[in-house]
């Protein structure tokens, strides 16, 4: 089990989504245009999947340190919308991320350098 203290993240804001888009150059309207998102069957715009992965990585960096991290493998399981309250917590295989209503939005396998099984 990854030794991660449960961490409640500040809700992702539309400004943060804008900053992420400017960093990566991803201005897909599904992240900005509510009408576009609704036409795609979503209730609101969605947070970039890699931003959710980045948020998970940031929790690991804060608690384990940059040098400790060797590998993460994140599966995105449900959309995250602006304002969603996410909690990152340790799981047997690594980390799990859930919304306030309990929906699991991501799970990740984490391998630290200390736990690296390779010789």
């Amino acid at each position: 089990m990854t030794d991660i203290a449960p961490t409640k993240l500040a809700p992702i804001t539309r400004d943060q989504i804008q900053s992420y888009a400017e960093a990566v150059g991803d201005f897909n309207p599904v992240h900005f245009d509510v009408d576009f998102a609704k036409a795609a069957g979503l209730p609101d715009t969605v947070v970039h999947g890699p931003l959710t992965v980045a948020k998970i990585t940031d929790v690991l960096v804060a608690q384990l340190g940059v040098e400790a991290l060797l590998n993460i493998d994140v599966r995105l399981r449900a959309p995250v919308h602006p304002g969603d309250e996410l909690t990152v917590e340790g799981a047997e295989y690594g980390v799990s991320v859930r919304k306030a209503d309990g929906t699991v939005v991501a799970t990740g396998v984490v391998i630290t350098r200390e736990a690296d099984p390779r010789p």
Binding site: A23, V24, G49, P50, V53, A54, D58, V61, V66
Partner: protein
């Protein structure tokens, strides 16, 4: 998606770790540890970003595409201002019922060829309604 790119290298280029982009990444995270984290999660990776380099060759329809997962293997953080060599390969692309799934691998190396990190990204494109 464009099944013709399966198995092909779609990006082979050099990019600079732009300080302004790193700041944007930090701002997107908004935490005390964000400046460190921003140097692990490159802005020029094979995410659904970089529409000229990845979305274009893959032929992703952004109204139906999503990222299903992402994996990182880190060897060291990026250094602000350094030039890195990026290669992106479409490792797998298949259709299951009406959904197409692509696995894209990205590898980043420093100026002297040292491995900085590898990524594996899973793209999913739903069939047309």
């Amino acid at each position: 998606m464009n099944v013709a790119v399966a198995g092909q290298k779609i990006v082979d280029t050099e990019v600079v770790v732009d300080p302004a982009k790193v700041v944007h990444l930090s701002e997107a995270l908004g935490t005390d540890s964000a400046p460190d984290t921003a140097l692990l999660i490159p802005f020029f990776a094979a995410t659904a970003a970089g529409q000229d380099s990845v979305v274009g060759p893959l032929g992703l329809d952004l109204s139906r595409a999503l990222q299903g997962g992402q994996a990182f293997e880190w060897h060291r953080p990026f250094r602000v201002g350094e030039t890195v060599h990026l290669q992106v390969v479409v490792a797998d692309l298949y259709e299951k019922r009406s959904t197409q799934v692509a696995t894209v691998l990205a590898e980043f190396r420093g100026a002297d060829g040292d491995l900085i990190q590898r990524q594996r990204i899973l793209f999913i494109e739903r069939g047309e309604p």
